[in-house]
Symmetry: none
Subunit: 188 residues, 4 copies
């Protein structure tokens, strides 16, 4: 059963969030997952591999959340807006996971291979943006750059929402405001 794998990843997320990657010994992860130390290494070759797995897991949850209900055939704006909402929604609902994912992405702890796989999954977003530019809806800057702005602005929205602990009402308003700013900026 892959029950234990899941437990170990979940335990890692818990502890990494509380103590950081380097202050969390594998032994504590195992104990927190309710298994013996050695068991961890039956499921993950090394601590590095475990960290990779945590990253992949988070990324996958995140992607999956964003893609839920994606209006494949909706208008261009509708599609961009959908990502905007779901991205921020995930970050706000799972702030620990969101923050962990962000830290991992920057920290050289995740293997190149794991990072690559992200790029692949985000290809659809790149394509979306590219088309926006081609169609003249977006300003004519390199699509990679527009993608970064897109990401950065959503990230900022998430952080603000979390830090200010926005409730339902104000959250919706905040998300909308953020989107308007972004949209105004990047549309021709």
């Amino acid at each position: 059963m892959n029950d234990k794998q899941t437990q170990l990843i979940e335990a890692s997320i818990d502890l990494f969030a509380q103590e950081g990657f380097w202050n969390t010994p594998t032994s504590r992860i195992a104990k927190h997952a309710g298994v013996a130390t050695g068991t961890l290494f039956n499921y993950f070759e090394s601590k590095d591999v475990l960290i990779d797995a945590v990253y992949k897991q988070l990324k996958q949850e995140w992607m999956s959340h964003m893609m839920t209900g994606y209006p494949e055939n909706g208008s261009f704006k509708a599609r961009v807006e959908h990502i905007w909402f779901r991205f921020i929604d995930w970050g706000v609902r799972f702030p620990v996971r969101y923050s962990l994912m962000t830290q991992l992405k920057l920290s050289d702890l995740v293997s190149e291979e794991a990072k690559q796989s992200q790029a692949a999954e985000l290809a659809f977003a790149y394509t979306m943006i590219e088309q926006g530019i081609t169609d003249g809806q977006f300003v004519d800057v390199p699509p990679g750059y527009l993608g970064m702005i897109f990401y950065a602005d959503m990230d900022a929205a998430v952080h603000f929402a979390i830090e200010n602990n926005l409730g339902d009402m104000s959250l919706t308003r905040h998300i909308t405001q953020g989107f308007d700013i972004f949209w105004k900026g990047v549309t021709g």
Copy 2:
């Protein structure tokens, strides 16, 4: 002599950038700085304190770079634009330092106290933005949020410039384009 302090901080920056914080033993830092292992602890109570000092140093250089030539009495837009240019300029010129500063900010390695001091120094920016909103030049969203967008967009610009290794010509164009997008988005 505070010469040695500087050497130690500089050595830390070098090595942290190459190997990461946790793979860089204090002994190696000391050797790279040309002093004995024990000497490091005459200048910094612990490794944590050294890391804090590195962070403060980078932040200070960064602030100082941004403030150089700040048009205290210039127009509102001129002042915002100045920060935009100088921020990105620093990031592009010192990518290692920039990346280190970013990582430190996120990694729980820097004490709260060190992070606070940043807030203080950035107060001027907050004030600037606040006034922009009050004056009706900026859209009416919480100033903290606008500050985050500001930061996030500059950060994106830096990353794009570094990753694509932009030369002088294209760099200037890139910076300007980025600013236009930002400005268009946040101005009423």
Copy 3:
């Protein structure tokens, strides 16, 4: 079925030769033998017992090879010469097994009991040598010592043959030369 016992011993020999005793986990032995980890312990109480069994197996093969065609009723010299040839022949044909047996004999990994049983089987050689001395054919030194010289000289012959990768022709010559030296030395 003792099929599996044999497979496990054979797998051990393979892997011990490649990696050494201490770098070969029981789990790898089991896998290489095509059985489950736990199965190994159904056949051998512990790794030590398995190592003992390997030793006994090798020793037995070796003895058996040496005794094949032993001229029970041949002349004294013919009998000694037979051992000489067959000993070296085995070592050269099965260098891995030969080397393993030698290592095991020296390495404290084999139980005293296993070593004793060797002594018993070699008793015939001891008797042979003793008689050689009594008959005045061999020099008058303690038979145990003569036995050691006998063994040592055969061992040297094997090592030289292996290291120099002697082919059929030169091998025969080498074996003969070695025997002549030995014989000249130990005969009165």
Copy 4:
């Protein structure tokens, strides 16, 4: 001071002899040497390096013992005889060290580099033997082979002496007898 290096090597010899290489943890070696665990690794990069150092140390003592009083200008037989006596003398006086050296040579624990250095130091013996063959004093077999026989016979003599716990009188006799057998065998 290299005092501690010596203590650590000496402790290793003690413990390796009692328990074997693999049953002797570095922590016990350190404790037995009267230093902290970590100290061991200030002097030896790893356990493997320590084992190498032990081997080199033993080999050096052995060589030095053999060369003491070597009759550079003595007759051919005198020179060979000298090595014979001093080799066995060392083995008998330091049986633990002798046995350890032998085990190490066979056990794949010693790096190739360490083994090579032995070859170099034994070059003189090889030359000696070569000349013996050229001069017609020794039988015409490959010098490498004669060297092996030489070594093997001395080794056998040591083992017999140790196992039978020979006292001064009988030891001298034993050494002489052994030499006679060897000499008779290998001289034309």
